[in-house]
Protein backbone atom coordinates (compact mmCIF):
# COMPACT_ATOMS: atom_id res chain seq x y z
CA UNK A 1 0.00 0.00 0.00
CA UNK A 2 1.33 3.42 -1.03
CA UNK A 3 0.90 6.18 1.57
CA UNK A 4 0.98 8.85 -1.13
CA UNK A 5 -2.31 7.76 -2.73
CA UNK A 6 -3.96 7.45 0.71
CA UNK A 7 -2.98 11.02 1.57
CA UNK A 8 -4.12 12.38 -1.82
CA UNK A 9 -7.55 10.80 -1.37
CA UNK A 10 -7.91 12.12 2.20
CA UNK A 11 -6.67 15.57 1.16
CA UNK A 12 -9.12 15.70 -1.76
CA UNK A 13 -12.04 14.70 0.48
CA UNK A 14 -11.13 17.39 3.02
CA UNK A 15 -10.96 19.98 0.25
CA UNK A 16 -14.37 18.90 -1.12
CA UNK A 17 -15.80 19.05 2.41
CA UNK A 18 -14.20 22.44 3.06
CA UNK A 19 -15.90 23.78 -0.09
CA UNK A 20 -19.32 22.18 0.34
CA UNK A 21 -19.49 22.07 4.18
CA UNK A 22 -22.28 19.51 3.80
CA UNK A 23 -21.12 16.91 6.28
CA UNK A 24 -19.04 18.53 9.02
CA UNK A 25 -21.46 21.38 9.71
CA UNK A 26 -24.36 18.93 10.15
CA UNK A 27 -22.26 16.61 12.29
CA UNK A 28 -21.24 19.49 14.55
CA UNK A 29 -24.78 20.80 14.81
CA UNK A 30 -26.23 17.35 15.47
CA UNK A 31 -23.63 16.42 18.11
CA UNK A 32 -23.91 19.75 19.97
CA UNK A 33 -27.72 19.66 19.97
CA UNK A 34 -27.73 16.03 21.13
CA UNK A 35 -25.36 16.78 24.02
CA UNK A 36 -27.49 19.75 25.09
CA UNK A 37 -30.70 17.68 24.89
CA UNK A 38 -29.18 14.79 26.86
CA UNK A 39 -27.87 17.23 29.47
CA UNK A 40 -31.31 18.80 29.81
CA UNK A 41 -33.16 15.48 30.01
CA UNK A 42 -30.67 13.44 32.03
CA UNK A 43 -28.85 16.14 33.98
CA UNK A 44 -30.37 15.21 37.36
CA UNK A 45 -29.60 11.49 36.87
CA UNK A 46 -25.99 12.30 36.01
CA UNK A 47 -25.59 14.06 39.35
CA UNK A 48 -26.77 10.98 41.28
CA UNK A 49 -25.28 8.36 38.93
CA UNK A 50 -22.37 9.99 37.03
CA UNK A 51 -21.43 6.62 35.54
CA UNK A 52 -24.14 6.95 32.89
CA UNK A 53 -22.62 10.13 31.38
CA UNK A 54 -19.93 8.45 29.18
CA UNK A 55 -22.69 6.23 27.77
CA UNK A 56 -24.60 9.32 26.70
CA UNK A 57 -21.45 10.77 25.17
CA UNK A 58 -20.96 7.61 23.14
CA UNK A 59 -24.55 7.61 21.95
CA UNK A 60 -23.91 11.10 20.56
CA UNK A 61 -20.70 9.96 18.81
CA UNK A 62 -22.36 6.81 17.53
CA UNK A 63 -25.20 8.64 15.79
CA UNK A 64 -23.03 11.55 14.64
CA UNK A 65 -20.44 9.16 13.26
CA UNK A 66 -23.02 7.06 11.42
CA UNK A 67 -24.50 10.25 10.00
CA UNK A 68 -21.19 11.42 8.58
CA UNK A 69 -18.80 8.58 7.87
CA UNK A 70 -20.96 6.80 5.28
CA UNK A 71 -21.09 10.01 3.22
CA UNK A 72 -17.48 9.77 2.02
CA UNK A 73 -18.16 6.71 -0.14
CA UNK A 74 -21.75 7.64 -0.95
CA UNK A 75 -20.65 10.98 -2.42
CA UNK A 76 -18.21 9.19 -4.75
CA UNK A 77 -20.87 6.67 -5.75
CA UNK A 78 -23.53 9.30 -6.46
CA UNK A 79 -21.11 11.58 -8.35
CA UNK A 80 -19.76 8.69 -10.45
CA UNK A 81 -16.22 9.35 -9.24
CA UNK A 82 -15.88 6.00 -7.47
CA UNK A 83 -15.25 4.52 -10.91
CA UNK A 84 -12.58 7.15 -11.48
CA UNK A 85 -10.80 6.05 -8.30
CA UNK A 86 -11.14 2.40 -9.27
CA UNK A 87 -9.84 3.06 -12.79
CA UNK A 88 -6.53 4.35 -11.41
CA UNK A 89 -3.55 2.25 -10.32
CA UNK A 90 -4.55 2.29 -6.65
CA UNK A 91 -5.70 -0.71 -4.66
CA UNK A 92 -9.07 -0.89 -2.94
CA UNK A 93 -7.16 -0.95 0.38
CA UNK A 94 -5.60 2.44 -0.47
CA UNK A 95 -9.00 3.92 -1.36
CA UNK A 96 -10.46 2.59 1.89
CA UNK A 97 -7.51 3.86 3.94
CA UNK A 98 -7.82 7.33 2.34
CA UNK A 99 -11.49 7.46 3.25
CA UNK A 100 -10.78 6.23 6.79
CA UNK A 101 -8.16 8.97 7.30
CA UNK A 102 -10.65 11.60 6.08
CA UNK A 103 -13.45 10.20 8.28
CA UNK A 104 -11.14 10.13 11.28
CA UNK A 105 -10.20 13.80 10.82
CA UNK A 106 -13.88 14.67 10.45
CA UNK A 107 -14.83 12.80 13.63
CA UNK A 108 -11.81 14.21 15.46
CA UNK A 109 -13.09 17.71 14.59
CA UNK A 110 -16.49 16.81 16.05
CA UNK A 111 -14.80 15.34 19.12
CA UNK A 112 -12.85 18.58 19.70
CA UNK A 113 -16.13 20.51 19.87
CA UNK A 114 -18.56 17.97 21.36
CA UNK A 115 -16.35 16.78 24.25
CA UNK A 116 -15.93 20.23 25.89
CA UNK A 117 -19.63 20.97 25.26
CA UNK A 118 -20.46 17.66 26.93
CA UNK A 119 -18.32 18.48 29.98
CA UNK A 120 -19.84 21.95 30.35
CA UNK A 121 -23.50 21.01 29.87
CA UNK A 122 -23.45 17.70 31.78
CA UNK A 123 -21.83 19.39 34.80
CA UNK A 124 -20.04 16.12 35.42
CA UNK A 125 -17.92 16.00 38.59
CA UNK A 126 -14.66 15.09 36.79
CA UNK A 127 -12.10 13.27 38.97
CA UNK A 128 -9.51 12.06 36.44
CA UNK A 129 -7.37 13.46 33.64
CA UNK A 130 -9.32 15.14 30.82
CA UNK A 131 -6.36 14.59 28.50
CA UNK A 132 -6.47 10.84 29.15
CA UNK A 133 -10.24 10.79 28.54
CA UNK A 134 -9.69 12.68 25.28
CA UNK A 135 -7.03 10.13 24.31
CA UNK A 136 -9.39 7.20 24.99
CA UNK A 137 -12.06 8.92 22.91
CA UNK A 138 -9.59 9.49 20.05
CA UNK A 139 -8.50 5.85 20.05
CA UNK A 140 -12.14 4.73 20.09
CA UNK A 141 -12.96 7.07 17.21
CA UNK A 142 -10.10 5.59 15.21
CA UNK A 143 -11.58 2.14 15.69
CA UNK A 144 -15.04 3.49 14.87
CA UNK A 145 -13.97 4.98 11.51
CA UNK A 146 -12.09 1.84 10.48
CA UNK A 147 -15.21 -0.26 11.04
CA UNK A 148 -17.73 2.26 9.67
CA UNK A 149 -15.68 3.05 6.55
CA UNK A 150 -15.29 -0.65 5.84
CA UNK A 151 -19.00 -1.41 6.31
CA UNK A 152 -19.87 1.64 4.17
CA UNK A 153 -18.08 -0.02 1.22
CA UNK A 154 -20.04 -3.25 1.79
CA UNK A 155 -23.44 -1.53 1.54
CA UNK A 156 -22.58 0.70 -1.44
CA UNK A 157 -24.43 -1.52 -3.89
CA UNK A 158 -27.50 -1.96 -1.66
CA UNK A 159 -30.72 -0.10 -2.37
CA UNK A 160 -31.50 0.93 1.22
CA UNK A 161 -27.84 1.61 2.09
CA UNK A 162 -28.55 4.59 4.39
CA UNK A 163 -30.74 2.35 6.58
CA UNK A 164 -28.61 -0.75 6.22
CA UNK A 165 -25.39 0.93 7.38
CA UNK A 166 -26.49 1.61 11.00
CA UNK A 167 -28.16 -1.81 11.26
CA UNK A 168 -24.93 -3.58 10.26
CA UNK A 169 -22.73 -1.27 12.29
CA UNK A 170 -24.45 -1.60 15.68
CA UNK A 171 -23.44 -5.19 16.50
CA UNK A 172 -19.91 -4.64 15.18
CA UNK A 173 -19.46 -1.55 17.32
CA UNK A 174 -20.80 -3.13 20.50
CA UNK A 175 -17.42 -4.39 21.86
CA UNK A 176 -15.85 -1.01 21.09
CA UNK A 177 -18.64 0.84 22.89
CA UNK A 178 -18.43 -1.36 25.98
CA UNK A 179 -14.65 -0.94 26.23
CA UNK A 180 -14.66 2.78 25.54
CA UNK A 181 -17.53 3.59 27.91
CA UNK A 182 -15.88 1.54 30.66
CA UNK A 183 -12.51 3.28 30.22
CA UNK A 184 -14.07 6.75 30.01
CA UNK A 185 -16.20 6.08 33.05
CA UNK A 186 -13.23 4.98 35.13
CA UNK A 187 -11.17 8.01 34.07
CA UNK A 188 -13.84 10.70 34.29
CA UNK A 189 -15.77 9.64 37.38
CA UNK A 190 -13.38 7.22 39.09
CA UNK A 191 -10.17 9.22 38.71
CA UNK A 192 -8.35 6.27 37.11
CA UNK A 193 -4.92 6.78 35.48
CA UNK A 194 -3.48 5.21 32.33
CA UNK A 195 -2.17 2.12 34.21
CA UNK A 196 -5.62 1.53 35.72
CA UNK A 197 -7.29 1.38 32.31
CA UNK A 198 -4.41 -0.42 30.57
CA UNK A 199 -6.59 -3.51 30.06
CA UNK A 200 -9.30 -1.58 28.20
CA UNK A 201 -6.72 0.37 26.17
CA UNK A 202 -4.92 -2.84 25.14
CA UNK A 203 -8.20 -4.39 24.04
CA UNK A 204 -9.17 -1.21 22.15
CA UNK A 205 -5.82 -1.25 20.31
CA UNK A 206 -6.23 -4.96 19.52
CA UNK A 207 -9.82 -4.43 18.33
CA UNK A 208 -8.70 -1.55 16.10
CA UNK A 209 -5.84 -3.64 14.72
CA UNK A 210 -8.00 -6.67 13.96
CA UNK A 211 -10.72 -4.47 12.42
CA UNK A 212 -8.13 -2.75 10.22
CA UNK A 213 -6.74 -6.06 8.94
CA UNK A 214 -10.25 -7.40 8.18
CA UNK A 215 -11.21 -4.10 6.50
CA UNK A 216 -8.13 -4.14 4.26
CA UNK A 217 -8.57 -7.82 3.38
CA UNK A 218 -12.23 -7.40 2.40
CA UNK A 219 -11.82 -4.05 0.62
CA UNK A 220 -11.05 -5.51 -2.82
CA UNK A 221 -14.20 -7.65 -2.86
CA UNK A 222 -16.31 -4.88 -1.31
CA UNK A 223 -15.36 -2.33 -3.98
CA UNK A 224 -15.85 -4.75 -6.88
CA UNK A 225 -18.83 -3.94 -9.06
Amino acid sequence: MKGQAVLWIARKDLLVEFRSRHTLSFMLLFSTLSVVFFARIAGTYVLTAPGIAPGYLWLVFLFTGMLGTGRAFLREKEGGTLDALRSMPVSAAEILAGKAVYNFLLLFGVQCVAFPVFLVFMELPVRGSLLLAFGVLTLSNLSFVVISSSVATLVLGARAREVLLPVLLMPLLFPLLVLSVSALNRVLTGGAGLMDIAGEVRLLVAYTGVSSVIALLTSEAALQE
Binding site: I9, L15, V16, S20, G79, T81, D83, R86, S87, P89
Partner: protein
Amino acid sequence: MHAVEAERVCRSFGGRAVLREVSFSVGRGERFALLGPNGAGKSTLLRIVAGLLRQDSGVVRVDGVDVLEEPLKAKRRIGMVAHEPWLYPELTAEENLRFYAGIYGVGEERVHELLEEVGLLNHARRQVAGFSRGMKQRLSIARALLHNPRVLLLDEPSSGLDAAGRAWLRRQLEELSRRGTAMLIATHHPGEAMACTSGIVLEAGRVVASGAPEALLEVVEGERR
Protein backbone atom coordinates in the same frame (compact mmCIF):
# COMPACT_ATOMS: atom_id res chain seq x y z
CA MET B 1 2.23 -7.05 -29.45
CA HIS B 2 -1.21 -5.42 -29.71
CA ALA B 3 -2.19 -2.43 -27.57
CA VAL B 4 -5.48 -4.15 -26.64
CA GLU B 5 -6.41 -7.79 -27.13
CA ALA B 6 -9.71 -9.38 -26.16
CA GLU B 7 -10.22 -13.13 -26.53
CA ARG B 8 -13.65 -14.75 -26.23
CA VAL B 9 -14.84 -12.33 -23.54
CA CYS B 10 -18.17 -13.23 -21.91
CA ARG B 11 -20.12 -11.37 -19.26
CA SER B 12 -23.63 -11.86 -17.85
CA PHE B 13 -25.73 -9.83 -15.44
CA GLY B 14 -28.26 -11.84 -13.44
CA GLY B 15 -28.29 -14.67 -15.97
CA ARG B 16 -28.65 -12.33 -18.98
CA ALA B 17 -25.66 -12.53 -21.33
CA VAL B 18 -24.40 -9.03 -22.14
CA LEU B 19 -21.18 -10.07 -23.92
CA ARG B 20 -20.85 -13.37 -25.80
CA GLU B 21 -17.38 -14.50 -26.86
CA VAL B 22 -16.23 -11.07 -28.01
CA SER B 23 -12.77 -11.05 -29.59
CA PHE B 24 -10.84 -8.21 -31.22
CA SER B 25 -7.42 -6.58 -31.20
CA VAL B 26 -6.28 -2.97 -31.47
CA GLY B 27 -2.83 -1.93 -32.71
CA ARG B 28 -0.74 1.03 -31.53
CA GLY B 29 -1.99 4.37 -32.80
CA GLU B 30 -5.17 2.71 -34.05
CA ARG B 31 -8.60 4.30 -33.48
CA PHE B 32 -10.96 1.40 -32.98
CA ALA B 33 -14.74 1.98 -33.06
CA LEU B 34 -17.24 0.04 -30.97
CA LEU B 35 -20.57 0.43 -32.72
CA GLY B 36 -24.01 -0.95 -32.01
CA PRO B 37 -27.42 -0.04 -30.59
CA ASN B 38 -28.07 0.83 -26.94
CA GLY B 39 -27.64 -2.23 -24.72
CA ALA B 40 -25.37 -3.98 -27.24
CA GLY B 41 -22.60 -4.25 -24.61
CA LYS B 42 -20.24 -1.44 -25.73
CA SER B 43 -19.94 0.25 -22.33
CA THR B 44 -19.66 -3.10 -20.53
CA LEU B 45 -16.78 -4.02 -22.85
CA LEU B 46 -15.01 -0.73 -22.14
CA ARG B 47 -15.47 -1.22 -18.38
CA ILE B 48 -13.95 -4.70 -18.61
CA VAL B 49 -10.93 -3.39 -20.54
CA ALA B 50 -10.57 -0.59 -17.94
CA GLY B 51 -10.55 -3.14 -15.10
CA LEU B 52 -13.75 -1.74 -13.58
CA LEU B 53 -15.67 -4.94 -14.21
CA ARG B 54 -14.53 -8.57 -14.26
CA GLN B 55 -15.42 -10.73 -17.22
CA ASP B 56 -16.96 -14.14 -16.52
CA SER B 57 -14.58 -15.80 -19.00
CA GLY B 58 -12.09 -14.86 -21.67
CA VAL B 59 -8.90 -12.81 -21.54
CA VAL B 60 -8.24 -9.08 -21.94
CA ARG B 61 -4.68 -7.82 -22.32
CA VAL B 62 -3.58 -4.20 -22.42
CA ASP B 63 -0.09 -3.76 -23.84
CA GLY B 64 0.46 -7.44 -23.11
CA VAL B 65 -0.69 -7.15 -19.48
CA ASP B 66 -3.65 -9.29 -18.37
CA VAL B 67 -6.16 -6.93 -16.72
CA LEU B 68 -7.35 -9.59 -14.27
CA GLU B 69 -3.93 -10.91 -13.28
CA GLU B 70 -2.10 -7.57 -12.98
CA PRO B 71 -4.84 -4.94 -12.67
CA LEU B 72 -2.70 -2.11 -11.28
CA LYS B 73 -0.04 -2.58 -13.96
CA ALA B 74 -2.74 -2.58 -16.67
CA LYS B 75 -4.46 0.50 -15.21
CA ARG B 76 -1.20 2.47 -15.44
CA ARG B 77 -1.41 2.00 -19.21
CA ILE B 78 -5.06 3.06 -19.54
CA GLY B 79 -6.84 6.41 -19.56
CA MET B 80 -10.63 6.52 -19.68
CA VAL B 81 -13.16 9.14 -20.69
CA ALA B 82 -16.43 7.74 -19.39
CA HIS B 83 -19.98 8.86 -20.03
CA GLU B 84 -19.87 10.75 -16.71
CA PRO B 85 -17.05 13.30 -16.44
CA TRP B 86 -15.47 11.79 -13.26
CA LEU B 87 -14.78 15.24 -11.85
CA TYR B 88 -15.43 16.79 -8.44
CA PRO B 89 -17.76 19.78 -8.95
CA GLU B 90 -16.66 21.47 -5.69
CA LEU B 91 -13.02 21.60 -6.83
CA THR B 92 -11.52 23.87 -9.46
CA ALA B 93 -10.29 22.51 -12.81
CA GLU B 94 -6.70 22.77 -11.55
CA GLU B 95 -7.46 21.05 -8.23
CA ASN B 96 -9.24 18.21 -10.00
CA LEU B 97 -6.26 17.56 -12.27
CA ARG B 98 -3.79 18.03 -9.42
CA PHE B 99 -5.59 15.31 -7.41
CA TYR B 100 -5.47 12.79 -10.25
CA ALA B 101 -1.89 13.79 -11.08
CA GLY B 102 -0.93 13.21 -7.44
CA ILE B 103 -2.27 9.67 -7.56
CA TYR B 104 -0.49 8.94 -10.85
CA GLY B 105 2.67 10.56 -9.53
CA VAL B 106 2.68 13.13 -12.34
CA GLY B 107 4.26 16.59 -11.88
CA GLU B 108 2.52 19.96 -11.61
CA GLU B 109 3.83 21.13 -15.01
CA ARG B 110 1.86 18.37 -16.76
CA VAL B 111 -1.36 19.73 -15.18
CA HIS B 112 -0.75 23.19 -16.67
CA GLU B 113 0.39 21.73 -19.99
CA LEU B 114 -2.87 19.79 -20.32
CA LEU B 115 -5.06 22.68 -19.17
CA GLU B 116 -3.50 24.72 -21.95
CA GLU B 117 -3.88 21.88 -24.45
CA VAL B 118 -7.62 21.55 -23.79
CA GLY B 119 -8.12 25.32 -23.76
CA LEU B 120 -9.03 25.65 -20.09
CA LEU B 121 -5.96 27.44 -18.71
CA ASN B 122 -7.99 30.65 -18.26
CA HIS B 123 -10.60 28.70 -16.29
CA ALA B 124 -8.10 26.75 -14.18
CA ARG B 125 -9.21 28.36 -10.90
CA ARG B 126 -12.94 28.11 -11.53
CA GLN B 127 -15.04 25.48 -9.77
CA VAL B 128 -16.10 22.70 -12.12
CA ALA B 129 -19.72 23.03 -10.89
CA GLY B 130 -20.00 26.16 -13.07
CA PHE B 131 -18.60 24.50 -16.21
CA SER B 132 -20.68 23.71 -19.30
CA ARG B 133 -20.97 20.06 -20.46
CA GLY B 134 -18.40 20.77 -23.19
CA MET B 135 -15.90 22.26 -20.73
CA LYS B 136 -16.34 19.28 -18.41
CA GLN B 137 -15.74 16.96 -21.33
CA ARG B 138 -12.51 18.79 -22.24
CA LEU B 139 -11.34 18.59 -18.63
CA SER B 140 -12.30 14.93 -18.51
CA ILE B 141 -10.11 14.28 -21.56
CA ALA B 142 -7.25 16.15 -19.89
CA ARG B 143 -7.74 13.99 -16.78
CA ALA B 144 -7.56 10.81 -18.85
CA LEU B 145 -4.34 11.96 -20.57
CA LEU B 146 -2.46 13.05 -17.42
CA HIS B 147 -0.21 9.99 -17.24
CA ASN B 148 0.32 9.64 -21.01
CA PRO B 149 -1.64 6.38 -21.30
CA ARG B 150 -0.83 3.98 -24.10
CA VAL B 151 -4.50 3.09 -24.43
CA LEU B 152 -7.37 5.56 -24.28
CA LEU B 153 -10.93 4.32 -23.74
CA LEU B 154 -13.67 6.72 -24.76
CA ASP B 155 -17.38 6.21 -24.12
CA GLU B 156 -19.44 8.53 -26.36
CA PRO B 157 -16.73 11.21 -26.17
CA SER B 158 -18.53 13.80 -28.30
CA SER B 159 -21.78 13.75 -26.30
CA GLY B 160 -22.51 17.25 -25.08
CA LEU B 161 -20.02 18.85 -27.46
CA ASP B 162 -21.10 21.37 -30.09
CA ALA B 163 -19.78 21.29 -33.69
CA ALA B 164 -16.62 23.22 -32.76
CA GLY B 165 -16.06 20.92 -29.78
CA ARG B 166 -16.45 17.84 -31.95
CA ALA B 167 -13.94 19.22 -34.47
CA TRP B 168 -11.52 19.95 -31.59
CA LEU B 169 -11.99 16.42 -30.24
CA ARG B 170 -11.34 14.93 -33.68
CA ARG B 171 -8.07 16.89 -33.99
CA GLN B 172 -7.03 15.78 -30.50
CA LEU B 173 -7.70 12.12 -31.23
CA GLU B 174 -5.80 12.31 -34.52
CA GLU B 175 -2.84 13.89 -32.75
CA LEU B 176 -2.90 11.19 -30.05
CA SER B 177 -3.09 8.56 -32.75
CA ARG B 178 0.02 10.03 -34.42
CA ARG B 179 1.82 9.78 -31.05
CA GLY B 180 0.99 6.06 -30.94
CA THR B 181 -1.90 6.05 -28.45
CA ALA B 182 -4.39 3.29 -29.20
CA MET B 183 -8.04 4.26 -28.79
CA LEU B 184 -11.18 2.28 -28.19
CA ILE B 185 -14.18 4.49 -28.93
CA ALA B 186 -17.77 3.49 -28.13
CA THR B 187 -19.95 5.74 -30.23
CA HIS B 188 -23.30 6.29 -31.94
CA HIS B 189 -22.04 9.25 -33.90
CA PRO B 190 -21.34 8.40 -37.58
CA GLY B 191 -18.77 11.21 -37.90
CA GLU B 192 -16.85 9.87 -34.93
CA ALA B 193 -16.97 6.34 -36.32
CA MET B 194 -15.69 7.52 -39.71
CA ALA B 195 -12.68 9.09 -38.01
CA CYS B 196 -11.68 5.63 -36.72
CA THR B 197 -9.34 3.30 -38.55
CA SER B 198 -11.31 0.11 -37.90
CA GLY B 199 -13.82 -1.37 -35.46
CA ILE B 200 -16.55 -3.85 -34.69
CA VAL B 201 -20.35 -3.79 -34.50
CA LEU B 202 -21.89 -5.37 -31.43
CA GLU B 203 -25.44 -6.58 -31.28
CA ALA B 204 -26.90 -8.28 -28.20
CA GLY B 205 -23.36 -8.84 -26.97
CA ARG B 206 -22.09 -10.54 -30.14
CA VAL B 207 -19.67 -9.23 -32.75
CA VAL B 208 -21.77 -9.10 -35.93
CA ALA B 209 -19.29 -7.23 -38.16
CA SER B 210 -15.70 -6.06 -38.11
CA GLY B 211 -13.49 -4.05 -40.45
CA ALA B 212 -13.32 -0.54 -41.94
CA PRO B 213 -15.71 2.10 -40.55
CA GLU B 214 -17.54 2.64 -43.87
CA ALA B 215 -18.57 -1.03 -44.00
CA LEU B 216 -19.50 -1.01 -40.30
CA LEU B 217 -21.76 2.02 -40.70
CA GLU B 218 -23.55 0.24 -43.56
CA VAL B 219 -24.20 -2.72 -41.24
CA VAL B 220 -25.50 -0.38 -38.52
CA GLU B 221 -27.74 1.45 -41.02
CA GLY B 222 -28.98 -1.89 -42.40
CA GLU B 223 -29.95 -3.04 -38.89
CA ARG B 224 -31.85 0.19 -38.26
CA ARG B 225 -33.91 -0.36 -41.45
